[in-house]
């Protein structure tokens, strides 16, 4: 059955990722690993809302809310690090419940546009709020000094844990309702399911993950500014999802790894990495409409079919 959890694969993947992050010593590689982890988490969050059939450009706003919350908690109130991290997720989820309850009655392009407008509005609020550093943003958001050598492992572990939780929810009976809503909302309603509740829950869970991604972004970079959280962030996340493939949760992770590594390499060449994102999206849409993971699946099926033919 499609709804069984592939726990051995998950455990192996998470162990490999965390193990690899322990080997990182070069600061440049460490920064790329952090970027990849955060990008993967944001992309998985974006795909999670795509399960109910909506493109959530407000993702960028929730990443920002997480980052600014953690930034405020650490630099203004000086609370413990653990609370600062989780408060980013909680703040994003709380705002998303209100935002989602109002806006998830709309669908498709309308929902996308509202998310886009919300992201830009929130960004402008940061830049006008002097308490949050205005246009220049917040500085000095540091994790505890003891964390310094373990930062890639910490970021990778949090991202992996949250991605795993989202995977488990997606595969649960509750998660099946997400796909049902995308496929045929009316039918789901006729068997007594509370569609708006499920949509808001899906949205809030995804926003919690996006908020934590923002918290990680804040403590990794130590500096945040309104410009970090424009709609472009959501556009990049969409590129990770589309390039990697949206059929399963591995897709956005693969997309994030490919594009972030490619982008970092392009930055090293002095080029503009956005060109690479654009080119990758165009190529992905034209050559592999189901993304890299879709292409791998097709390749596997092809090889297996050939093996079968040869055996016959």
């Amino acid at each position: 059955m499609a709804d069984t959890l592939r726990l051995p694969y998950c455990a192996a993947g998470i162990a490999a990722a965390i193990g690899a992050s322990l080997l990182v010593s070069d600061p440049y590689v460490a920064s790329v690993v952090n970027l990849v982890s955060i990008a993967a988490l944001i992309a998985v969050s974006l795909r999670f809302v795509m399960l109910i059939g909506e493109l959530n450009f407000a993702t960028a706003a929730f990443v920002g809310i997480g980052a600014y919350t953690t930034g405020s908690v650490l630099t203004i109130w000086d609370w413990p690090f653990g609370i600062a991290m989780i408060s980013g997720g909680i703040a994003a989820a709380a705002v998303s419940v209100v935002f989602g309850y109002v806006t998830l009655r709309t669908k498709g392009p309308y929902f996308l546009l509202i998310g886009f407008a919300f992201t830009e509005a929130v960004r402008i609020i940061y830049s006008k709020s002097m308490g949050l550093g205005g246009n220049s943003g917040m500085v000095g958001i540091f994790p505890p000094i003891a964390f310094d050598p373990w930062m890639p492992t910490f970021v990778m572990s949090i991202a992996a844990l949250l991605i795993f939780v989202l995977y488990v929810i997606e595969k649960s009976d509750f998660g099946k309702i997400f796909t049902a809503i995308r496929d045929n909302e009316d039918v789901a309603r006729t068997v007594g399911l509370n569609i708006l509740f499920v949509k808001v829950a899906c949205f809030a869970i995804a926003s919690f993950a996006a908020g934590v991604a923002g918290s990680l972004h804040a403590v990794v970079n130590n500096v945040i500014s309104p410009g970090d959280f424009s709609f472009l962030l959501a556009a990049f996340a969409l590129a990770y999802v589309k390039v990697g493939g949206e059929d399963n949760i591995v897709g956005p992770i693969v997309g994030a790894i490919l594009l972030v590594v490619l982008g970092s390499y392009a930055l090293g060449l002095g080029g503009h990495e956005h060109i690479f994102y654009g080119a990758a999206i165009v190529l992905a849409v034209l050559l592999m409409p189901e993304g890299v993971t879709g292409l791998l699946h097709k390749g596997r099926d092809f090889v297996m079919a050939r093996g079968k033919r040869n055996a016959d």
Binding site: M1, A2, D3, D173, F174, K176, I177, T179, A180, R182, D183, N184, D186, V187, A188, R189, T190, V191, G192, L193, N194, I195
Partner: protein
């Protein structure tokens, strides 16, 4: 039919003066009818007679302009489709009443999610439902790729997995071949007899309606033209004039 002697029990569903206007058009006008426990009620009428509107009104997809709707004696006028489905009235749709990207098993499982706790119990209910509909061999297949007749059964499966008191089917026989029609009709009788579930059948296939229904309501121009058993309807002069067509003198 076996269930003619149940008039004493309270109706499952009762409409009084149900009316729905769309601007200047009165799609459904002052419609009174009731559905009793353990009966298959046919709702028939020419295109534009108001069948679909009536269907949408009783399932909560439209709000009535006036009139009332009672389910099991409690007033459900203007309640949402979710509330109405939780009271035991579950409907299907004319077109694409399933989730194409999900497997048949996942589709049917959806019907169990509200009423049953625990994954194992849900699976069991879904498998029982599939077996009853003859869908067991299709459980692992993606619903969207199946033949039309099987898809129709899956959509009934989603609805019936919720074990409704009243199953409302919107033209479930459209596009089925003769064998599939016969199978579906005998399945409806089993749903009524073995599960005590009433069925509201909106259907164009007159032969099937006359064969399977305990009672029939005929709509015409948004109003109830006649109500009665198939025999009564067949000989009702108003119905013959309006719907079955004028009898040619021969």
């Amino acid at each position: 039919m076996q269930t003619e002697s149940q008039n004493s029990t309270e109706p499952l569903l009762k409409t009084s003066g149900l009316t729905r206007r769309f601007g200047g058009l009165i799609a459904v006008n002052d419609v009174d009818f009731e559905i009793r426990p353990r009966e298959i009620l046919g709702l028939i009428g020419p295109n534009g007679a108001g069948k679909s509107t009536t269907f949408n009104l009783i399932s909560g997809f439209y709000k009535p302009s006036s009139g009332s709707l009672k389910i099991l004696g409690s007033d459900c006028t203007g309640r949402s489709s979710m509330v109405i489905s939780r009271m035991g009235l579950v409907r299907t749709f004319q077109h694409g009443s399933l989730m194409p990207s999900m497997t048949v098993h996942e589709n049917i499982l959806l019907g169990t999610l509200h009423g049953i706790r625990g994954h194992a119990a849900r699976r069991k209910r879904a498998e029982e439902t599939a077996e009853m509909l003859g869908l067991t061999s299709y459980l692992a297949e993606s619903a969207g790729t199946l033949p039309h007749g099987i898809q129709r059964l899956v959509s009934i499966g989603i609805a019936f997995a919720a074990r409704p008191r009243l199953l409302c089917l919107d033209e479930p026989l459209t596009g089925l071949n003769q064998t599939e029609v016969t199978d579906t009709l005998s399945m409806l009788e089993r749903i009524r007899d073995d599960f005590g579930c009433s069925v509201l059948l909106v259907e164009h296939n007159m032969k099937a309606v006359m064969q399977v229904c305990d009672r029939i309501v005929v709509l015409h121009h948004g109003e109830v033209l006649a109500t009665g058993t198939p025999t009564e309807i067949r000989s009702d002069q108003n119905v013959i004039n309006a719907y079955l067509g004028h009898r040619h003198g021969n």
